[in-house]
Symmetry: C2
Subunit: 344 residues, 2 copies
């Protein structure tokens, strides 16, 4: 083991394995807490003690084996997810023991992974947790969708739904910073309060009885950029409000996931006369844009123009609960949902 | 009247006025044949003897007063439409008597209009009728949609519906010329035969009992560019067949017009994982592209790579019938629908 050094490293770790494919929603019995081995790092590898891990909407379809763009999660293996932690053993000169690392090692307490200096967290920029939220896939998705796809300009109106969610809460802040008027949709009073605090000009309750009317009032001069995290009925409600040449950023489709699955049928008739564009995207297709976008986001973070919005669930064993919470209406998770595996 | 010369010019013309707003479909009683005056051309104007005029799908919503992007047609006025004819009086040095002109003078036998040398038909390129079909808005819409919006590349699969129609019959030919595999959808045996003659690799009958299955079979390797002239159920059937990064060119929505109006609800769920783009457009927004596209089309026409596909109805008084035919299923109009007002 050339060039390695270690602090206290166990040879086994706790991990949550996917033991069967979930039905409509993930439940505890779909997972199994087990011991997995933590091999000593070989040349170029490091062992990381995971502190926080991520739950993301895209995980359920991969667990169910019905994701159309990413391979299914294998059964009997620890669930893969972005995690951050401290390097406790290293066989990579560029990733020393004591550094903090983002890895895709997932729902487990320790893991040995390929080391990459690009994944070492620069703690001068802020709390490492930012690497799982505004500086991670979440924040980069928000930026890429709003700017690269949505081409937002100052003075335009941006509509964003699931606005208290992981991506939505970043979109609200970025759109405010871009000089847009921001109309944000969420599903509870506490979420509405929260998105107003983030700077949204209008906050509309999706569960209010006259949602369509309230949305139309909030968007009375029309919508230029609609950042859609939901699809289905919410897309159907927003499409008639789009201004000519409006851009619909198809970022996610929470409406098609979980027990509340929405048939999601939409009349896209207004798209022709209004010259709308509707564009789906997957941010991992655009890895070339990540460094540039991350440095923009880090700049905003340093200036206090952007803040991580995070909900943390304590305990690796509660990761399935945290995941299920993403698909359940009426939960009060705000922002990016993370699971704490260990104390810093 | 400086610089003018005349041949036989009447002071009155026959015209079809819009006398009331049509219901679901236009009918004869919505129009009135009347005499309108033909003033002598003033400086810069010319008088044209119309030979052919155009009926287009966008006209019905304008007659009904419910077009969202163009002003309603005024009641009591001759219906505006592209027409071609011969200049019979001129007060414009660049548009001499005897030249052929495209104008927007519409459903009338004679009209005095502003002269524009850009609208003079170059008869060396081919039959003047091409200026109302492949070299006019119809052909330019097909090119702009397929190339500028659809970004078709050789070897890709192009799906086009209403493929025996005005725009569709040009799209089929242009897609074949671009090196694409072409799957074309139409609604009768004679139309299917016709689009095969234009070079389509597969022709699928929209009225066949198992349309979805037949379409999926014809598109078994997926669709890269879907040129949608119909919307509604046909869009719903095609969306699941799109390949990753596919482009949906939202050109028209015949399904929303006429008595056969289709609720047009679509599940656009596949757009996110497949990174689809759906783009509506109106070709008159892109007048800067017209000269370049028209010269590409004229080149193809000269090389015999493109032929005008036209159905002509004889007699100005039958223009309402020709218009109604656009919205009626089961008619056998092929290609661009024109009305002959006078013999050449």
């Amino acid at each position: 083991m050339s060039g390695s050094s270690t602090i206290d490293v166990p040879s086994e770790a706790d991990a949550l394995l996917l033991s069967r494919r979930p039905g409509v929603e993930p439940e505890a019995a779909d997972f199994e807490l087990a011991s997995v081995s933590v091999p000593a790092p070989r040349d170029g590898e490091v062992t990381v003690r995971n502190v926080l891990t991520s739950v993301d909407p895209y995980m359920l379809p991969r667990m169910q084996g019905r994701s159309s763009y990413a391979s299914p999660f294998p059964l009997g293996e620890p669930v893969a997810a972005d995690s951050i932690g401290e390097v406790v053993a290293s066989a990579h000169l560029g990733v020393p023991v004591g550094s903090w690392l983002v890895s895709h090692s997932g729902w487990r307490t320790y893991a040995t992974v390929a080391g990459s200096p690009a994944d070492v967290i620069d703690r001068r920029i802020g709390d490492p947790v930012a690497w799982l939220s505004v500086l991670g896939m979440t924040g980069i998705t928000a930026w890429f969708g709003l700017h690269d796809i949505g081409r937002v300009r100052p003075g335009e109106t941006v509509l964003v739904n699931a606005a208290a969610g992981a991506v939505g809460s970043v979109v609200v802040q970025l759109a405010v910073h871009a000089g847009a008027r921001v109309v944000a949709v969420a599903g509870s009073a506490s979420k509405l309060r929260h998105i107003r605090e983030l700077g949204a000009d209008e906050a509309v309750d999706y569960n209010a009885p006259a949602f369509d009317e309230a949305l139309a009032r909030a968007c009375d001069s029309g919508v230029d950029v609609f950042f859609d995290n939901v699809g289905g009925r919410q897309l159907a409600s927003a499409l008639p409000l789009m201004r000519p040449h409006g851009r619909v950023v198809l970022c996610g489709r929470m409406s098609g996931l979980g027990a509340d699955a929405d048939p999601g049928l939409v009349d896209i008739g207004p798209a022709v006369p209004n010259r709308l564009s509707l564009q789906g995207f997957i941010v991992v297709d655009h890895l070339d844009r990540w460094p540039g976008i991350r440095s923009e986001l880090a700049g905003l973070l340093a200036q206090g123009e952007l803040r991580p919005v995070i909900s943390i669930t304590d305990g690796l064993d509660r990761a399935p609960d945290a995941l299920a919470g993403l698909y359940r209406r009426g939960t009060n998770h705000i922002g990016k949902s993370l699971v704490r595996i260990a104390e810093d």
